[in-house]
């Protein structure tokens, strides 16, 4: 973005602020103006509200219901959240603990955590709106409840695209930036013959007694399907799950949107042949037909194929005969028995209907078009100044990472807020300036505690802009927008290049529970299957083209050099031989400098006998901050042959000689 553009944007925002302050007088009931409008007071909207309020922006959160997080008053239907609320981690590190707290939102209040509301590992759904209410109240977020926005259209605000939102009372909200965090509310439906005979997840009874001795067919194999199945397992006679793709287990795919083991009891009853089962097939091909049985006392539903109903021109469903059913043609057809109920559990889609023409973002290419299409910085495609947050923004990392879930999108929201600050207020992405000799320990710190890159693996990564003797450390940048780093972050690149730190799962080519699933040799770290840190080094910023052509399943293009830190059973990457030293060697290669640490005595020697001593001595010792050590440690270093020994008349200095093989711990943890 050019300076002029940026300036004009700034002016525009300023003028809006002025307009907003004036609007209260003449607008009254009809028109209100805000710099930022956040649509929806769910977790994403409130999270963004917090950041806007912290940076003291003019914002309003619009919510149609009377309280926050109303989705959770209904869903999940069986009222158990499957997001982990691990309150005892053995650690007191607040950042680290967020790795295992999937429900809390981010704030600077250390105690504003979900565990204040619930101590359950899988809490009750009712607790979540309670938590959100607490969040709103304690942080004093500006939420306007009862404002049901029915229509959103674009409007020209001083040459920039803005948005006008109209609620049920005809009040309109003029917004220069619109942040859509409406979540996914509209049940996903598939049109087939007899779909009117199908009940929806959103409206089924939750009392298991209502399913007593019933045969149930559930369309879908996601968490809602299994949750439904699990709740009626003790009452229903037969539960079959039908959908196009086989069950994908979250513990195999590392994608939390896939079937969580919390809900998978039906897998057990299926595999132990206890009447339940899973079947794959296209949804568009099926039809549900009703046949009267027992003299019309019981409704019985059959699954059949559309093609079997096509024999005559008119499809008269009331006159279904045996020939219209697949069991007539294939005697062992799996779903040949009738069902008492058919339930649709196919997930939800984004509500596109409230957006007027030019304000409507396109449908995403992935996720079966259920989500709005957005750019790498979460701006709607073709809808400038409108950003999508929360679950609806999941198209960027659908089936890849956690951007569709609270524990993931709380970080994306933070990243988007930083982008907003830069774009509209010229406040650069926060960066920590570090001397190069501190870089390694800073990376280790992030790797061992940071929750953002850990939860949003492969999507948010730390960027290290190298600047010679120092570097700038930017946290949690959206990697897919890397080519626009300078414009989005307001941080310029130097010709020293940059490093990107990403957490990644591995190739995942082995059996998740089978032998050889874990790698412990650091030299084979790139074969790690579990979440592990990966560093990419680029001379120059990758271009959009590099990004498009990146290797299959990589989050980033092929770099100049890459370093995988070997996966760790305890996710503690702090061991000297397997973690620190290989990392240091990688950094040494990227920076083309020796990053070893030296005791003051060695620096003394090197300062007097070489014109430029090693970096550690330059940035420590020569700035009078040398690490002295004691005779006990020097003794170790001398025995290892790493430190010069000045006793006696050694003719040749054995300095820097490797010796004294360190015995690598070869402990065997086999159980």
């Amino acid at each position: 973005m050019s300076v002029i553009q940026r300036l004009s944007r700034l002016l525009y925002v300023l003028s809006l602020v002025l307009a907003a302050s004036g609007s209260g007088l003449h607008g009254r009931n009809n028109s209100v103006s805000h710099e930022y409008c956040v649509l929806g007071a769910g977790p994403a909207g409130l999270q963004m509200g917090y950041f806007l309020s912290r940076s003291q922006r003019d914002y309003i959160i619009l919510e149609r219901n009377t309280g926050p997080g109303s989705f959770f008053h209904i869903y999940p239907r069986h009222r158990k959240l499957i997001s982990i609320n691990k309150i005892y981690t053995g650690r007191r590190n607040k950042e680290f603990n967020l790795r295992h707290d999937w429900n809390s939102l981010l704030s600077d209040r250390p105690d504003l955590l979900f565990q204040r509301i619930s101590q359950e590992l899988y809490p009750s759904a009712d607790d979540f709106p309670r938590y959100l209410s607490m969040f709103v109240k304690e942080l004093g977020l500006k939420v306007k409840y009862g404002a049901d926005i029915g229509r959103i259209k674009t409007s020209d605000l001083n040459g920039n695209q803005g948005y006008i939102l109209t609620d049920q009372n005809g009040v309109s909200y003029q917004c220069s930036v619109l942040l859509v965090s409406t979540g996914l509310w509209v049940p996903q439906q598939v049109d087939f013959l007899g779909s009117d005979l199908v009940e929806g997840y959103e409206s089924i009874p939750t009392d298991p007694e209502e399913f007593k001795d019933q045969a149930v067919l559930i369309l879908g194999k996601g968490n809602s399907a299994f949750e439904t199945a699990q709740s009626i397992l003790g009452r229903a006679s037969r539960i079959h799950l039908y959908s196009p793709s086989p069950v994908r287990l979250a513990w195999q795919t590392h994608y939390v949107g896939d079937l969580r083991a919390v809900n998978n009891e039906l897998l057990d009853t299926y595999q132990l042949k206890s009447l339940d089962g899973l079947v794959e097939g296209r949804l568009e091909d099926i039809a549900i037909v009703r046949r009267e049985k027992d003299g019309g006392k019981r409704r019985t539903l059959y699954l059949t194929l559309t093609e079997l109903l096509d024999d005559q021109n008119g499809n008269n469903i009331s006159k279904v005969t045996g020939q219209n059913l697949p069991g007539y043609h294939t005697d062992n057809f799996s779903l040949r028995q009738p069902y008492d109920r058919v339930i649709r559990c196919l997930g939800f889609r984004f509500n596109f209907s409230i957006f007027d023409g030019s304000a409507r973002p396109p449908q995403s290419s992935g996720a079966r078009g259920r989500l709005p299409g957005i750019t790498a910085c979460y701006e709607g495609r073709g809808t400038p100044n409108m950003f999508v947050l929360g679950t609806a923004a999941h198209s960027r990392d659908y089936r890849m990472s956690a951007g569709g879930f609270v524990h993931g999108f709380r970080y994306t929201v933070r990243a988007v807020h930083k982008i907003l600050e830069q774009r509209y207020h010229n406040i650069a992405w926060p960066a920590t300036e570090l001397s190069i000799s501190q870089l390694q320990s800073w990376i280790l710190r992030r790797v061992n505690e940071a929750s953002g890159p850990y939860q949003m693996f492969g999507v948010l990564g730390d960027i290290i802009l190298l600047r010679g003797s120092y570097c700038e450390y930017l946290e949690e940048f959206p990697l897919q927008a890397l080519p626009q780093l300078s414009a989005l972050s307001g941080r310029l690149l130097s010709d020293h290049g940059l490093l990107v730190l990403v957490m990644q799962y591995g190739l995942n080519q082995t059996d998740t529970l089978g032998p050889g699933r874990a790698e412990s040799e650091w030299t084979k770290a790139w074969r790690s299957n579990f979440l592990h840190p990966v560093l990419y080094y680029y001379n120059t910023l990758p271009t959009e083209k590099d990004m498009r052509q990146r290797p299959v399943s990589w989050p980033l293009p092929r770099p100049e050099a890459v370093h995988h830190m070997v996966e760790d059973f305890l996710t503690e990457w702090d061991q000297p031989i397997s973690h620190s030293q290989p990392l240091r060697h990688f950094l040494e290669h990227c920076l083309q400098t020796d990053l070893r640490a030296f005791y003051a005595e060695s620096c003394f020697l090197l300062s007097l006998t070489s014109r430029t001593p090693p970096l550690f001595c330059r940035q420590g010792y020569l700035r009078k901050q040398g690490i002295v050590g004691n005779s006990h440690l020097w003794q170790h270093a001398r025995e290892a042959g790493l430190m010069a020994d000045h006793q006696g008349d050694t003719s040749v200095s054995e300095y820097l000689k490797h010796a004294g093989a360190a015995v690598v711990s070869a402990m065997n943890f086999d159980l």
Binding site: V279, D285, P576, A600, M643
Partner: protein
């Protein structure tokens, strides 16, 4: 063993083995000398290797074996040694040569004579076998021809002498007397007149030659093309020999160095070049009349690039015997293989072809070495990490240090007069090395009122560390109630921190109200109270408390808390202290220790931070003893060092040398230098500095000039001259006029990565070729999802694609 009394028992074994080195004929004999023939031999002036013994059968066998290799050398050689004889004798007589036959020397020594002069004596231990004897004998004989170098500086000197004159062969021999040593010596024996031979055992030279891992006890050989350098300032291009060091390989290598490019008018298969005989691939390039010059230039470039590995032959097409098809312009022939023809597109292509494909065997070997090298990578190469790692079973006793948490931090830091807080990471070796010192300080201060040492583990209490903006580890902050935290900026060691904390307890500045108190502050009771912390006192003198500078000075004193003891005398009597000096009030008075004359500086009105730097500057000693702790302060001055090294025992000579330099200093003649000294007793690392400067440690005291910032040369005050003021001045003068030869060099080595890069990308490319490759441009990125929906047909039960583990089989837990 034979004792003195057994002398007569010495049976004369005059077994001499003599071989004449003539260019035509090699005759070598093992001769047994009698005392008479021994005396005669002494007069011939020839070289003999003589062993005096009696029951020397074993050695005789060895000596007989020597005849063979030495005569082989002689055959190869048209050496200047050819007119000499090297006889190897074993001899002991009853009478005349008793000197060599007596006592313990008998049987334990062998001697090398030139005429009657003993060139060198050897312990039998060092001449343990044929290789050892040959190498040592030759090394002694060739003492003048083979230069022994120890440091890169010495090598550079040999190089600069040889430039435009002769090429150099450098051999690195890790252990003397092994076959490699012998091979090098034999080569020197043969080629000694042609090339300058250099032998080294030092790892320093290895590093200088670019060997990555100087610790491996491998022998190395380089050829330095010094003869052909066009300008004397150019470096000599060096080529390492990549094969094991033995006579044949050295011979081959040297031959290749000589003849990189030949011409022929024959078909490749008929060309006979030395390379074929040496088992080296040959590259043939076809040249046409029209493009002859161009072709020749290309050939020369290639020959240079492939020198030592591939021979290059230019074949002129116009020759009637050249029948090669015109579609080829080049060919190569590997040893024991047929000629293969190809078309050459670029010189780089050929180099690539050879380096990456045809010389595969080499590459293979390299890779094997590499793999061994990686296992070395599991050894820590960082002295701090390694020393901390070796303590990994040591439980740190943190009793005397309070471990702070988010809950206790605020209370603790406001409870004591001074709370010292260390911010550290457990995984950071530097932090963990420092924490040992920190505990030592805490133990030393235990029980002291008002001081508490605490620590914050930032791996756990990350919020405290972020809140206090700690971005560098370890960090030490000093907290006082109602005051901003002060950053400890000193050395991270026990002594420095301990002193800092104790000094922090001293109120700064000391407010002095009378001249008597000033006196007490400078050398009386007030002084001795803190004498053990620092001998230096700095006093601010102002004519009245209303002086503008007083507040500034007080603020500076606060900033210098823990570092300097400052006094403030704002009084009308202050004038007395500068009386008779060319300085007016306000002034700064520095007392280095009682009895030493004060130094007085005028005190300009300036900001507290400027005052701080001024005070720090005047505090510096003008003739400091350099120590590990104080060097950075002095290096900052950026002056060339005039560095006096003093031995452990404070000899009168050392004292005199110190006095002489002090005298020069006070006369103001050393102003452009930083005169300083190192006491090797207190700072033993000084010995290593001398070694690095000079390659050896000369008798102390020794004066050295080192221009760290401006030049790379180190000059040594001639040890034979007495260290007197006027000699020193003269020497400095000579150095500045370029009349002194440097005694050593300070390398401007770039501190690059200490180990070769472990390239994951290369491994991926090898093991999973497409995994790390960028996608072809046509592919769409949207394809990452696998929409494999069932196409058609009867829906049926399908098994999940993941094979489930057999529940009967014993569970294999393979997490590790």
């Amino acid at each position: 063993m034979h004792r003195r009394g057994n002398r007569t028992m010495c049976i004369v074994y005059l077994i001499a083995f003599l071989f004449s080195l003539t260019s035509e004929q090699c005759s070598s004999k093992l001769i047994e000398d009698s005392s008479q023939s021994f005396m005669e031999r002494m007069h011939t002036g020839k070289t003999s290797f003589i062993y005096f013994g009696n029951h020397g059968e074993t050695l005789i066998n060895v000596l007989q074996m020597i005849a063979e290799p030495l005569s082989q050398c002689a055959k190869l050689s048209k050496s200047h040694l050819s007119d000499q004889h090297i006889s190897v004798s074993v001899n002991c007589s009853e009478d005349a040569i008793a000197n060599y036959c007596t006592g313990e020397k008998l049987m334990t020594k062998a001697y090398l004579f030139r005429g009657s002069e003993v060139l060198r004596s050897f312990d039998i231990d060092t001449v343990f076998d044929v290789n050892a004897i040959v190498s040592h004998v030759l090394f002694s004989v060739l003492f003048n021809e083979v230069r022994y170098v120890h440091t890169p500086a010495e090598l550079l000197r040999v190089e600069s002498a040889a430039k435009q004159n002769s090429d150099i062969v450098v051999g690195h021999i890790p252990v003397l007397g092994l076959p490699e040593h012998r091979a090098l010596m034999e080569a020197a024996f043969v080629y000694g007149t042609k090339y300058q031979f250099v032998q080294t055992t030092g790892t320093l030279v290895l590093k200088h030659m670019g060997v990555v891992d100087p610790s491996s006890s491998q022998a190395w050989l380089w050829f330095l093309h010094c003869k052909g350098v066009s300008r004397r300032s150019d470096p000599c291009p060096s080529i390492p020999m990549r094969k094991p060091l033995n006579t044949i390989n050295i011979h081959t290598f040297l031959q290749l160095m000589e003849a990189p490019l030949t011409e022929a008018v024959l078909d490749p298969s008929d060309v006979d070049v030395v390379h074929m005989h040496l088992g080296v691939p040959v590259l043939y390039l076809f040249s046409q009349l029209q493009t002859q010059q161009l072709d020749w230039a290309t050939a020369q470039t290639l020959a240079l690039q492939l020198r030592g590995e591939v021979g290059v032959v230019v074949i002129h097409r116009d020759g009637p015997n050249v029948k090669t098809s015109l579609k080829y312009n080049a060919a190569y022939r590997l040893p024991q293989e047929d000629v293969k023809y190809f078309t050459l597109n670029s010189a780089e292509g050929v180099v690539k072809l050879f380096k990456e494909e045809l010389l595969q065997e080499h590459k293979f070997e390299d890779e094997e070495e590499d793999e061994e090298h990686w296992s070395d990578l599991d050894i820590l190469d960082d002295e701090v990490s390694e020393s901390v790692y070796r303590d990994r079973d040591l439980m740190l006793d943190l009793e005397s240090v309070i471990e702070l948490t988010s809950d206790t931090f605020q209370i603790t830091v406001t409870q004591n007069d001074i709370t010292v807080v260390l911010f550290y990471f457990k995984w950071d070796a530097v932090c963990m090395a420092f924490i040992q010192s920190y505990i030592e300080v805490a133990d030393a201060l235990e029980g002291m009122n008002g001081v508490k040492l605490a620590a914050v583990n930032c791996g756990e209490w990350t919020d405290i560390c972020s809140d206090h903006n700690v971005t560098s580890f370890p960090t030490v902050l000093i907290y006082r109630p109602m005051a901003a935290a002060q950053l400890y900026k000193g050395m991270l060691g026990t002594k420095s921190l301990h002193r800092f904390i104790l000094l922090s307890l001293v109120s700064n500045p000391y407010l002095l109200s009378s001249s008597a108190e000033v006196m007490s502050f400078l050398e009386g009771d007030l002084y001795s109270k803190h004498m053990y912390l620092t001998p230096v006192r700095v006093l601010g003198l102002f004519s009245s408390t209303h002086d503008m500078g007083v507040t500034s000075f007080e603020e500076a004193a606060r900033l210098l808390r823990g570092e300097t003891i400052l006094g403030l005398f704002a009084h009308k009597e202050a004038e007395q202290w500068v009386e008779g000096l060319s300085v007016n009030l306000p002034a700064l008075l520095v007392s280095r220790s009682p009895g030493v004359p004060y130094e007085v500086y005028s005190l300009p009105s300036s900001s507290p931070t400027d005052l701080v730097s001024l005070i720090k500057q005047v505090e510096l000693d003008r003739f400091p003893e350099l120590t590990v702790e104080n060097l950075p302060w002095y290096l900052e001055l950026g002056k060339p060092l005039l560095l006096l090294f003093i031995g452990k025992e404070d000899s009168t000579e050392s004292m005199k040398a110190l006095a002489e330099i002090k005298q020069l200093l006070s006369s103001g003649q050393l102003d452009s230098f930083l005169p300083c000294w190192i006491h090797l007793g207190r700072t033993p690392v000084g010995r290593s500095i001398l070694e690095k400067y000079l390659g050896f440690v000369p008798p102390l005291p020794v004066l050295v000039m080192s221009r760290l910032k401006t030049g790379e040369e180190v000059f040594l005050f001639p040890p034979e001259r007495p260290l007197m003021a006027k000699n020193i001045l003269q020497w400095i003068h000579d150095v500045e006029n370029g009349q002194e030869q440097p005694a050593g060099l300070i390398p401007d080595g770039k501190w690059g990565p200490p180990v070769p890069f472990f390239d994951f990308l290369a491994i991926m490319d090898q093991e999973a070729p497409t995994y790390a490759a960028q996608r072809a441009p046509k592919m769409k990125t949207g394809g990452r999802e696998d929409h494999r929906e069932q196409k058609h047909g009867t829906p049926n039960q399908r098994q999940t694609p993941h094979p489930s583990p057999n529940p009967q089989a014993p569970r294999q837990h393979s997490e590790l």
